[in-house]
């Protein structure tokens, strides 16, 4: 009797653990690029994502900036939305009751203008049932004061993270700015102050000028550059930071396809966020997840964690 050998295709594990949270895969939405998910629930099942990161919440509702708010640039876009959001009460009463029904961790991105506001917001929001983590937006370039001030000063990062850590009941994940000469120093400060992970990068400050009107295109003059154009910079920063700190790094910046996600994981990111790609391809996130899984299977890699940081390891002889 002959036996037929059945080639078993085992399904690779995509699960990762991040700051004590179990994620079913390392792919999540980036803040400000996914609404609160309801817009994209019409394209795919949100529960497929590793985690949902919603739009920034500020101490008071913000109407946002006057137009023009976005401008297309080569392989990228500039935005100056101005953190339009309904404030903490709007978030807790209108948004959270809906998103907490999802079967995945929900991260709230928090942005403020002063240390006390950051602390108060962390205190309030981290108590809410359904908030899995706080992403501390230390880096929004589009609000007059605030975010931008906190983003580049090591001492401010240390002080803010430390104070928020004391009141925050869930994992605290500062989101770092690339608009600095030394992102590693900011990451170290965040780690020393008790951050559970860091995420990077936020947008790079940029500009476009309308040559007919002879004025900046954006109503806010400057805006945050995102999209594939920023990926090499983001990747370099994730590579450097993940080599310098021992808490997990969440990689963000121009990820538009599964190959980009693999690059960030290899650079040392424990998970990734997909941002601008959602705008130009509403099914970008499930495509990244599927592509990652197929690639792992093809390469016979049983566990996605095997590739995290491999590009950092010395080359084998």
């Amino acid at each position: 009797m002959s036996t037929v050998e059945v080639k078993r295709e085992t399904r690779p594990s995509l699960e990762v653990e991040l700051a004590g949270m179990k994620l079913k895969n390392p792919v999540m939405s980036a803040s400000g690029c996914f609404g609160w998910g309801e817009e994209y629930a019409r394209f795919f099942d949100l529960n497929r994502m590793g985690a949902l990161v919603g739009k920034a919440v500020t101490p008071r509702p913000r109407p946002g900036n006057p137009d023009v708010r976005i401008a297309e640039t080569p392989a990228g876009m500039l935005n100056a939305i101005g953190l339009q959001n309904p404030g903490p009460e709007g978030f807790l009463n209108q948004i959270l009751p809906r998103v907490r029904l999802l079967d995945l961790p929900v991260w709230v991105n928090v942005s403020a203008n002063s240390l006390q506001e950051y602390v108060d917001l962390c205190d309030l929001l981290s108590q809410a049932d359904g908030v899995s983590a706080i992403e501390l937006n230390l880096s929004c370039p589009n609000v007059g004061r605030g975010g931008a001030e906190f983003c580049v000063v090591q001492e401010a990062v240390r002080e803010t993270v430390s104070a928020c850590r004391k009141v925050c009941r869930v994992p605290l994940i500062p989101k770092l700015s690339p608009n600095t000469t030394d992102v590693v120093a900011l990451a170290r400060a965040a780690e020393e102050a008790g951050a559970d992970a860091v995420s990077l990068i936020n947008t790079l400050v940029g500009m476009a000028i309308d040559i007919d009107r002879r004025r900046p295109v954006l109503g806010n003059q400057t805006g945050g550059l995102s999209g594939p154009a920023v990926k090499p910079i983001a990747l370099r920063m994730v590579y450097e930071v993940s080599g310098a700190i021992s808490i997990p790094v969440v990689g963000i910046g121009g990820i538009a396809c599964w190959q980009d996600a693999v690059e960030f994981l290899m650079a040392g990111a424990a998970a990734v966020q997909v941002g601008t790609a959602n705008f130009f391809n509403p099914t970008a996130i499930p495509e990244v997840i599927d592509g990652l899984e197929n690639w792992l299977r093809e390469k016979q890699i049983g566990d996605v964690r095997e590739i995290i940081g491999v590009a950092r390891q010395p080359k084998r002889r």
Binding site: C33, F43, V68, I70, A75, I81, T276, N278, F279, P282
Partner: protein, 261 residues
């Protein structure tokens, strides 16, 4: 949670120049052809490039539910439409929709449609839609363009049994001046509703005229968009009551009193 939005790699079935710089692209999109209503739009992105990066929003020009295809019309003006022009029949583009709120037919005896420049497509679609519905209304279409050669969609409007009047900025066809100057004479006696799409100054003029006369109106706005589905908050316009409205999901069809013109 609302219904799902069809998203395709849609085949370009036809792609023709209908006037200088103006192109009509026919896309294979059965669900969108069935579901689209006048005033709604689709997002279209050329594949195989991230430069230009963002999709472009286009009002539906024709929807052929039986044939399973839709038409969009665009004027080639920039990098996005320049790249779009290169998608020959047989090529696929990424397409999602229909998006946004459509025109709502008011209980009136006469409908006046006002279209300016590249704002003509939803006006044509609405005229065809009303004609197909055998809606018991008289349809007048006022179409404006900078010059005669840029007047588009006139034949479609006539076939849809609309009374068509045109205006050109340079006087090469019809009324010499703005299309909105033709509007007041239709608002005298018959119970009328006005539907318009075109550049913001034209829509502001329509809003001013209809509000002054107490005539119901709906205006389809255009704005550069990144996502088209309400997530990016990039396409906002100021509301009269304060704050901002998203053109993509709160519109693109608004009543005059909703917008701070």
């Amino acid at each position: 949670m609302s219904e799902s939005i069809p998203i395709y790699r849609a085949e370009v079935l036809d792609h023709v120049e209908v006037a200088p710089e103006h192109f009509v692209m026919t896309l294979d999109a059965p669900e969108i052809a069935r579901e689209a209503r006048p005033g709604q739009f689709v997002m279209v992105r050329s594949l195989g490039t991230w430069d230009p990066l963002l999709p472009r929003a286009f009002s539906v020009y024709h929807a052929d539910a039986e044939g399973g295809c839709i038409d969009i019309m665009y004027r080639q003006v920039g990098r996005g439409t320049g790249r779009l022009r290169l998608n020959e029949p047989g090529v696929h583009v990424q397409l999602w929709g229909p998006l946004g709120k459509p025109f709502q037919l008011a209980d009136v005896e006469q409908v006046v449609l006002v279209g300016g420049g590249v704002g003509v497509p939803p006006i044509v679609f609405y005229a065809e839609y009303l004609d197909r519905l055998l809606a018991p209304v008289k349809v007048v279409a006022l179409i404006g363009a900078s010059t005669e050669t840029f007047l588009v969609g006139i034949d479609h409007l006539q076939r849809a049994n609309a009374t068509v009047r045109v205006a050109t900025d340079d006087g090469t066809a019809g009324h010499h001046g703005y299309v909105t100057q033709l509007l007041p004479e239709y608002l005298e006696d018959t119970p009328t509703a006005v539907y318009a799409c075109g550049p913001m100054p034209m829509l502001a003029a329509v809003a001013r005229i209809t509000e002054a006369q107490g005539v119901p109106a709906e205006l389809a706005l255009e704005a550069p968009m990144a996502c088209g589905v309400g997530a990016c908050l990039g396409c906002t316009v100021p509301r009269r009551e304060g704050g901002y409205a998203r053109v993509c999901t709160d519109g693109p069809v608004f009543r005059p009193e909703e917008i701070a013109w």
